[in-house]
Amino acid sequence: MTTHHIRVTVNGTEREADVEPRLLLVHLLRENFGLTGTHVGCDTSNCGACTIHVNGTSAKSCTMLAVQADGTDIKTIEGMADGATLHPLQQAFWDQHGLQCGFCTPGMIMQSAWLLGQNDDPTEDEIRAGISGNLCRCTGYVNIVKSIQQAAGELRAAGQAE
């Protein structure tokens, strides 16, 4: 099988790789680029641990091929913090105990970030629907919802201050 040369922008940095067509996007990120913040959970597009943004749209990277992402702009959990300053969602998950084991957290935060980009003031129901493709086996979701509510408030306040 021939390999394909692909170029992607990951968290603002241009990257290139020669990949087999069957290489999954999540493996490109983890194994070729060393960005292991994106997790592989179920590998069947159920659990959402591998959620990233492709051209600003949330996607499950275990069910996308690296070649499909050629030319796209990708954002992963590693691209969320600004230096030592956590993204408001990351800080909120810390403050509200929105994680226990942390395995689902990168996907949960990336999906929440996409959700808040669509709707900056979601109701609890809208938050729960928005993260329905992300499974957490520890928290029972209560603190995750609180985390997203906290971040939504902070992001709205920051938006109004600008």
Binding site: P21, T44, Q111
Partner: protein, 356 residues
Amino acid sequence: MVTKKGVVAANFVDAGTKRADTRATPDPRAATSYCLLAGPIANPTHTFIRWWNAPSAAEGTWRNDRPMIPPAFDYVRPVDLGEALRILKEREGDAKVLSGGFSLLPLMKLRLAQPALLVDLRDVTDLDGISRVGDEFRIGGRATHRRILEDAALGAALPIMRDAAAGIGDPQIRNWGTIGGSVAHADPAADWPAVLQALHASIVVQSVDGERVVPARGFFVDTFVTGIEPTEILTEIRIPVPGKGSGGSYQKLERRAGDFSTVGCAVQLTIGGDGRISQIGIGLTAVGDAPFAATKAEDALRGAKPSAEIFREAAGAASRQSRPADDSHGPAEYKRAMVTEMTTRALDAALVRAKG
């Protein structure tokens, strides 16, 4: 093996044989290769779970036996539809079309589909749109579930489309999964096929030789098998705009958020000036080898005045026409009871919308 139904059918026969071997309880319907396609394979995720849980000592290590990486294939990303169709013609039977990928890639990981070539339609962006042309809506094959969910004009005229789109997968899957991909994939537990049959929609397929417009009723031949030839691409869905006094609803029973349907029922009904049902379409999800129109229930309703009694009678007819299989979603008897329930709910909701 290339059959009239396409290379996919061949892949599923092979895969079905393997899957049947690993099941603890043999499927009585697996007596013929044809029936290997039926029933429990309906849901790839559940097929996977069943396969994963099955004893595997005789089949080597799990690393070899239960791979999560697809087998090797070639990949091409044509710049337009013409190039895509030419490639499908040149590689007839070898190639599969990749749209959103959220149905195809899980099957490839399980080796239930093993195309030699994937033709990615990502850059064929003129199939993305939703528009109204005269008396019909035209939905591009690459329109995502999310785009359908958010299309105001479509949602206002056909709220049933919003019902169905909202229940498919989860937000990430709706962001990338497409109606054309879902319809061409033809999982009997997928939601669009029943909706399109209830709406008397048409499905447009193209090849280098031209275009065919196929009624949704009759398009879904069998589990994962449609009327699409291996050299054709599903380019558009056409749905007649319902007239005054029409209402529709899709009611889906799922075990948990984002799951495939256990049972789904799509209803679109029109009340005429005389207060009687002038037009009726009912489609059922996940209770047959392929999604189908509940024609017996339609016959019971056409020309009748809507009432709880006639709705109950029609729901019973729908249940009797369904052929569900026992699987991880529940026994067939339960599913038949749920057809009665979901059909009643869909009729009630459609009537409320028809009365506006």
